[in-house]
Subunit: 287 residues, 2 copies
């Protein structure tokens, strides 16, 4: 049997009791390590689970999934995913392949950033579609998030923006020369996200949001050092020091923001006067 086991958001103790039992008994344990990361090292997981872990990188999951599924008709294979197992498309592919091979599949759900973000005080009912943002390059600035955010904003909903992580990436030169040398991991911060958002608004001029739009930066959601910082997009461009280490994500507030959400998040404001005055001018009473 193939078990997709969610690990939750933060450390080794965020696995569920059910998940831990499966990990302890499985013939092989894989860790999907490219769509998200935990805030602890692999060795901590291995010693806590009492099991060696095989790291499954993108190449393995996308091109060599039959190795992951080897013998799973007769033995149990645990495939560990940070957060909830169904956060990324890739895992759907793995399940479809398992089905083709006649392998039964079980899922152990866990916390996801999609619900964990509720700790910001924003109501999950008031979120529209979730978007992702990647690191811009000079000649590659994918901005499909802009149209999606516009759709959410038009209805008055919040948008959760998930931020790029780059692990096991090769430089163009190393890629071209076929050298398996990898760059150090990079995690997008709220500051970079806010800057890229404002750059795109300046190019497109669709008035979807601007420097004065209210947003909440989130860091290490679900962990002991979880941190939220509320402010304008302009303020959030320079709030990375307040937020601290990765992972980061950002929520752009919708006009339907409820008084209770505003109250709750004011606690996190960089500048409460700014938060309050923009709230009153642009949001309050516009639900």
């Amino acid at each position: 049997m193939l078990y997709l086991v969610g690990l939750g958001l933060s450390d080794e103790t965020d696995i569920t009791v059910k998940g831990l039992e499966i990990v302890k008994k499985a013939a092989r344990v894989y860790l999907e390590a490219y769509t998200s990361i935990l805030l602890v090292e692999q060795s901590v997981l291995e010693s806590y689970y009492g099991r060696p872990i095989l790291v499954a990188d993108r190449e393995m999951v996308e091109s060599n999934s039959d190795e992951i599924l080897r013998d799973a008709q007769t033995v149990d294979v645990a495939f560990l995913v940070v957060g909830d197992p169904f956060g990324a498309t890739t895992h759907t592919d793995l399940v479809l392949r398992a089905r083709e091979l006649g392998i039964p599949v079980g899922t152990v759900p866990n916390a996801s950033i999609l619900s964990g973000i509720g700790a910001s005080g924003l109501q999950l009912y008031n979120f529209g579609q979730t978007v992702s943002m990647v690191f811009f390059l000079d000649n590659w600035r994918p901005a499909s998030f802009y149209d999606r955010i516009k759709e959410n904003r038009d209805i008055g909903l919040h948008t959760l923006v998930l931020l790029d992580i780059k692990v096991k990436e090769q430089s163009l030169e190393n890629l071209a020369r076929g050298r398996k040398i990898y760059e150090p991991p990079r995690y997008m911060t709220v500051g970079t996200c806010a800057k890229q958002m404002l750059e795109v608004e300046e190019e497109k001029r669709g008035g979807v949001y601007g420097p004065e739009s209210l947003a909440i930066g989130a860091a290490r959601v679900g962990g002991k050092t979880e941190k939220f910082v509320a402010g304008t997009l302009k303020e959030l461009c320079d709030a990375d020091d307040l937020l601290g280490p990765p992972l980061h994500s950002l929520v752009l507030l919708g006009r339907r923001t409820h008084e209770l959400e505003y109250d709750y998040a004011r606690e996190f404001a960089i500048n409460r006067d700014t938060w309050e005055s923009i709230w009153k001018a642009e949001y309050q009473g516009r639900q």
Copy 2:
């Protein structure tokens, strides 16, 4: 300290290791028992946790939260919530009250139906805002979900519909006479949901969806007996036997449905021919 501890979606082993440690050590353990339920009895939880549980009903959480928070400045109180702690507004109120009283608050996230629904094969990125549906009465048929679904449909997104549960409700007569006699619990099924949706469309005639719209009924998401049934809304009116016991929820498919989502969900179709022909006519290529 006040700890909001998510219990996940299904049974006693869905608590995280971190959550279980808190429950075992807390001075008092409350279980919020009116916005959702687990699929196991309270006694099972008590014996698994090795702790007595105080049930916190709506009245207690909304009107007597200071009793829950009593002495939490100095002792640990665990407040258990089915799913993820931030699924319902009520818990935001509790946290705000704790803040007023100078009580530190910790959260232990867990799986929520908002991410668990990913097991249906639908991509979480393709969901718009989540809506709720209550049991209609003769003279009370709140249909605000209709406008919300329209907003999602206009953009092409899926809608997750969360279904009413009635626990510890009094009949009008018992309420009027002040008798604390409670009706047996009721859980809305996918069949009732689909019927109510079609009734509202027939009244409003906004063309938001219809008997031929594709949807997926979900039962006991995250549990061992998890079940999905895919079909038209009309088919789902009569699919409760296929789905089995509560809890149920429903997803109405958006036009942006991806080929991979369609493929995955076809496995669950009541009638694969219908699923395929409506998909081809109404969805395919309309992303």
